[in-house]
């Protein structure tokens, strides 16, 4: 998967957690959990969905790297390449 495909997957999964949010207006440099008011159960759902879709482990210690869309993209892209 390339970066654009991963971005599409990430935004789709975030959209499932926060269906009412307009993700096109989401600043890629802000903490999206804060911005979209995603609680710990919502965030766990997001991690479960991404781990399944991208076939990567996403350990808990890496959660801070999923803070913004930008940082999440870098992390997920690197993680999928490592697996491939």
């Amino acid at each position: 998967m390339n970066r654009d495909e991963i971005k599409a997957a990430l935004l789709q999964q975030i959209g499932n957690i926060a269906p009412e949010a307009d993700l096109s207006k989401l600043d890629p440099a802000v903490d999206f959990r804060e911005e979209l008011d995603i609680d710990s159960i919502g965030f766990l759902n997001l991690v479960i969905a991404l781990a399944e879709q991208l076939r990567i482990p996403i350990p808990e210690k890496d959660y801070p790297r999923l803070r913004t869309i930008e940082s999440a993209l870098s992390y997920l892209t690197a993680a999928t390449q490592r697996i491939a």
């Binding site: 926060a18 269906p19 009412e20 959990r33 804060e34 008011d37 609680d39 710990s40 159960i41 766990l44 759902n45 991690v47 479960i48 781990a51 482990p57 996403i58 350990p59 808990e60 210690k61």
Partner: protein, 399 residues
């Protein structure tokens, strides 16, 4: 033969709207099966039956809003003969009260004091009749001593010729049942009743949860995301396990007395996206191993947010826990949900300076709070309950 009725899904619920039938006459049902979906102030709720058998007939139509206690369907035991009558309500409404196949509503109506010669009627029946501009003298009563009860007014209404509803000028328009306004009205009713009737007392205790968080991190490290536990699951389990020793915080205050509950069904307060909150129960919380508790917590949160949950989850939390999660305030002073008698609060865990063996060290602290009903318990026991929960959170491997 058993009746499947519009259930009461909380002290504040008066009526619900039938949205969907999931079974039809002739279908077999087991106890726990979902028969219908009902729209209430709390959203769409799946209604379960506790009667096993065969659906004999449906007595309420999709789209109808009916009061709590109204029969929705008839369920006959297997082998029992089907009723001869054609299905649905109009036929039923034609029958004389004595022949009606359901007994008087579950709660015996309280008869108002009757000035000489006045018609006997329950207060609910009077209000309902007035709202619809019906004269009580024209209604045949089926209650004690021939008193007109709610169901009689309902039947009379259905008999009344169709036409513009003579909604008498009594009070404002009925509240909108669903959507954010309906939910706000439901919260307002429950919380106003709580603050009016329940003499709350409040306690707080700072719990050192470092051991819990360390244990969770180690346990989750080599597990797939779907098998990971959240601190919220530990909190629920610790609260439920501690409550076993403190029955005076688990149960209902009804009709002027406390009814302790043998089971511990902790209601989990969940904020809804877009506003409002709801606190459905996780059944037998204290009996569940952590993995299952976590799975149920996640399932419940997901279903609630998708707007689908079951009647039994709404109806019977015996106590509530409100947890502010990872990004909330330091502590909460919660308000009891009547008819419950206690609610526990948990603030957002934060690192704080803490004194351990004479030295100051950073520890992860969660501020636990309790609001409880002084008609039932006292602060001393409440403090012991909070300490018991904190002790359990210091030994998470035993949960």
């Amino acid at each position: 033969m058993g009746l499947f009725r519009m259930p009461s899904l909380g002290a504040d619920m008066e009526a619900g709207t039938l949205v969907e039938w999931l079974k039809k006459p002739g279908d077999k049902v087991a106890s726990g099966d979902i028969l219908a979906v009902v729209e209430t102030q709390k959203g769409a709720i799946e209604i379960e039956t506790f009667e096993a058998g065969v659906v004999d007939r449906l007595m309420t139509e999709v789209g109808q809003t009916v009061p709590v206690g109204t029969p929705l369907a008839m369920i006959r035991a297997e082998g029992e003969k089907a009723m001869a009558q054609p299905p649905l309500s109009p036929a039923l409404a034609q029958m004389p009260p004595a022949a009606r196949p359901w007994p008087a509503p579950p709660r015996p109506p309280v008869l108002a004091a009757l000035p000489g010669g006045e018609i006997k009627a329950s207060p609910a029946a009077r209000k309902f009749a007035a709202e619809h501009g019906l004269d009580l003298s024209g209604i045949e009563g089926s209650g004690p001593e021939g008193a007109v009860v709610f169901v009689d007014v309902e039947v009379a209404l259905r008999r009344a010729p169709p036409g513009p509803a003579p909604r008498a000028a009594v009070g404002p328009e009925p509240q909108k049942l669903s959507g954010p306004e309906g939910m706000r009205a439901a919260i307002a009713a429950a919380m106003a009743r709580s603050k009016r009737e329940i003499p709350h007392y409040y306690l707080g205790h700072a719990a050192d949860i470092t051991a819990s968080l360390d244990w969770l991190a180690a346990r989750n490290a080599d597990r797939a995301p779907a098998d990971r536990l959240l601190f919220g699951a530990l909190l629920l389990k610790a609260a439920a396990a501690a409550l076993r020793q403190f029955p005076e915080f688990n149960g209902f205050y009804r009709d002027g007395r406390f009814e302790p509950s043998k089971s511990i069904h902790v209601g989990m307060a969940l904020a809804l996206r877009g506003g409002g909150l709801i606190a459905p129960a996780i059944h037998d919380t204290d009996q569940l191993p952590l993995d299952r508790l976590m799975a149920q917590m996640r399932d419940l949160a997901n279903r609630v947010r998708a707007g689908r949950f079951r009647s039994s989850e709404m109806a019977d939390p015996t106590v509530t826990l409100t947890s502010l999660g990872e990004r909330g305030a330091d502590w909460v002073i919660p308000v009891i949900y009547p008819p419950q008698v206690a609610i526990l609060g948990a603030g957002t865990p934060t690192a704080e300076p803490w004194v351990v063996e004479g030295g100051v060290v950073p520890r992860q602290i969660c501020h636990l709070t309790l609001a409880a009903d002084h008609r039932v318990s006292d602060g001393h026991r409440g403090a012991l309950l909070l300490r018991a929960i904190a002790d359990l959170l210091r030994a998470p491997e035993q949960l």
